[in-house]
């Protein structure tokens, strides 16, 4: 017992918070990567997360394609669609005010979600966890469903890989250079427009991976994207988009904070992240890891 709360319940909510945090981290990471290079706030990020989950569901239903294959295939599909959208439409907006990118992707999100809602209804559909990851393990202080443990581990590995890709590789160095000075990088013979397309596809693909991971935890529904994207915006404001690691860490931290609030003051659990955002803005307007205001 801690503060009159049974340790089992506390651990259970902490785990739930960590799961939510995993999705916040993956999504805010994708947002930060896209914003870093394209200077676009990708409002369609939630819709792309939903698309990832739906792709996995449809692959399973129509072709019997397994979870593991979907985990690779679904981000690829969403990434290609995103690349097409970037090339044909989004790319025309870079020279304008950043707000137009936000408004365009907002419209895109409405179209995607409206379409899926029209064809599949608003209700959620279950997606079974793969056989290898069903069941629970007893850790002594708590019972851990294996799939949930997998989500936390998988998202950590993906987040750290993307961080390493951007901070530690040559490709990442080029990316960061293009963020600082696209004209100069272009002069070095690097195809910056292609880099922009790939970055947008990478960000959308990350959202899709999060969607596939989320499919067995939550239900697959056309509305799953907007519910989470507004919270992720708050996460991004708290973390500041200047740092990749900042986005990841803030995602996990706020997920855990949300989980803990569910234990101690459940009524506030769906607003706690917004409250934290407001407090951070008052105390440290640039965000926890941010450099620019």
């Amino acid at each position: 017992m801690i503060f009159g709360i049974p340790i089992q319940a506390l651990m259970g909510q902490l785990l739930l918070g960590l799961i939510n945090g995993s999705f916040y981290a993956l999504l805010s990471l994708g947002l930060a990567v896209i914003f870093g290079l394209l200077r676009v706030i990708n409002f369609a990020h939630g819709a792309q997360y939903m698309l990832g989950a739906f792709a996995a569901l449809l692959l399973l239903q129509s072709g019997g394609i397994s979870y593991w294959v979907a985990l690779a295939l679904s981000p690829l599909i969403v990434g290609i669609v995103a690349a097409f959208v970037e090339r044909t439409m989004l790319a025309r907006l870079y020279k304008l005010d950043h707000l137009y990118g936000l408004l365009f992707t907002f419209g895109l999100a409405l179209v995607i979600e409206g379409t899926f809602r029209y064809f599949f209804g608003a209700s959620g559909k279950p997606y079974p966890a793969p056989a290898a990851l069903t069941g629970v393990v007893n850790l002594g202080f708590m019972v851990l469903p294996i799939y949930r443990g997998w989500v936390v581990v998988a998202s950590l590995v993906i987040c750290l890989s993307v961080w390493a890709l951007i901070e530690k590789t040559r490709l990442g160095a080029t990316l960061r250079a293009a963020t600082e000075n696209p004209v100069l990088v272009q002069n070095f013979g690097i195809n910056v427009p292609l880099l922009l397309t790939l970055t947008y596809a990478l960000g959308a693909g990350l959202a899709a991976i999060a969607g596939v991971l989320a499919a067995p935890v939550y239900q697959v529904s056309p509305l799953m994207g907007t519910q989470i994207i507004i919270v992720v915006f708050a996460v991004v404001v708290v973390g500041g988009m200047g740092s990749i690691m900042g986005a990841i860490v803030t995602g996990y931290l706020l997920g855990i904070a949300e989980g803990l609030t569910k234990v101690f003051y459940p009524e506030a659990s769906n607003i706690v992240i917004f409250v934290i955002m407001a407090i951070v803005l008052i105390l440290r307007p640039a965000g926890l890891f941010g450099k620019d205001v």
Binding site: L96, Y100, L102, L103, R117, I230, F233, V237, F274, M277
Partner: protein, 335 residues
């Protein structure tokens, strides 16, 4: 945001001769529009025109911020819907007369605007937009859980009451001209505000914030003033709508509502005084039309958004202002 569109419009200036009676013609156009609204209930369904006018006021209040201050708020549903709840509550539970209930709604919206504005204005640009969205979503959850809003049911059968305790607003025509008068008053306030010294300073902040700071203006206070003003007027529109439809629901505070008002303004023409009116008209008409068909409104809204941003950034009235005829009549996109 209006900056880019306005610049390309400027390229055509000077090539067109101004019509000698341009100011008179402009005045006549405004007069015709007002006359049209006065006689509209004889040609159109009055409730529909009232809805249109409420949203036109809402979009105009929003444009005050986006068009004339350059701040994109994605949280205006909090003011619109919040005021709808306050007005409905004051009229129904406290038994206030409609003008007092509206005043309560407006004050409430202004207070929410003050709090959200104080927090959101800690950041600029794209962050400001995300913060307003997040805070209005927080207010949505507050409305969802707070007992006085009756959650999913909303506040229903709100009495329209007697204006000043005398004129019964129950009959549709009485309500219509009350709405007409309030909306016109609201638009007049916005027009006066935009053309006041305060409005000029806002425009200078929109054009070059750093220069405004170096000239000694307390930029954040001016922005906050505009934000609260916009929130209060959006609240007036929301309160009015709750009296027209005699209900206040969660739809009014949802993020979709915040998106709709952005669309109305964008479609009609950012930083034009009449643009939001036309934008609201188109959006409300489309919604009414699609309500009877099976085609989802969301998809069309999204498509219109994408098209507007890609190829129609000046909006309807903005395009007219930039056209040869508009130039001839001496219309200028606000720069």
């Amino acid at each position: 945001m209006a900056h880019g569109a306005a610049h390309s419009a400027g390229a055509e200036e000077g090539t067109v001769q101004l019509h000698p009676k341009a100011p008179t013609i402009r005045l006549v156009i405004v007069g015709l529009m007002i006359l049209g609204l006065i006689f509209a209930p004889w040609f159109a369904y009055p409730i529909f025109v009232m809805k249109l006018m409420c949203f036109a006021l809402f979009a105009s209040a929003f444009n005050l911020l986006l068009g004339y201050t350059g701040l994109l708020s994605f949280g205006h549903a909090a003011f619109f819907g919040g005021a709808a709840y306050f007005t409905a509550h004051a009229a129904k539970v406290w038994g206030f007369t409609p003008e007092l209930a509206l005043l309560i709604g407006m004050t409430g919206a202004a207070l929410i605007g003050l709090v959200i504005g104080l927090i959101a204005l800690r950041r600029t640009g794209i962050y400001f937009t995300m913060i307003t969205l997040a805070l209005s979503q927080m207010f949505f959850f507050f409305c969802l859980q707070s007992p006085f809003t009756h959650g999913e049911d909303g506040i229903q059968s709100v009495p329209r009451g007697h204006l000043f305790g005398v004129i019964d607003l129950g009959p549709t025509m009485n309500m219509y001209y009350f709405v007409f008068a309030v909306v016109m008053l609201g638009l007049l306030v916005i027009w006066r505000f935009v053309n006041s010294p305060f409005g000029m300073i806002l425009k200078s902040i929109r054009e070059n914030e750093n220069r405004a700071i170096s000239l000694g203006y307390s930029v954040v206070s001016y922005k906050l003033g505009a934000f609260v003003m916009s929130a209060a007027l959006a609240g007036l529109a929301g309160g009015l709508k709750s009296l027209v439809f005699q209900s206040a629901t969660l739809t009014d505070v949802s993020w979709q509502m915040s998106g709709e008002v952005v669309l109305m303004t964008l479609l009609g023409g950012i930083a034009t005084l009449t643009g939001p009116f036309f934008g609201a008209g188109i959006v409300v008409t489309l919604q009414n039309y699609l309500a009877t068909s099976s085609f989802p409104v969301t998809i069309l809204t999204g498509l219109v958004f994408m098209v507007c941003v890609l190829i129609f950034r000046r909006g309807l009235i903005g395009e007219f202002y930039a056209s040869k005829l508009g130039q001839k009549l001496g219309y200028r996109t606000e720069t």
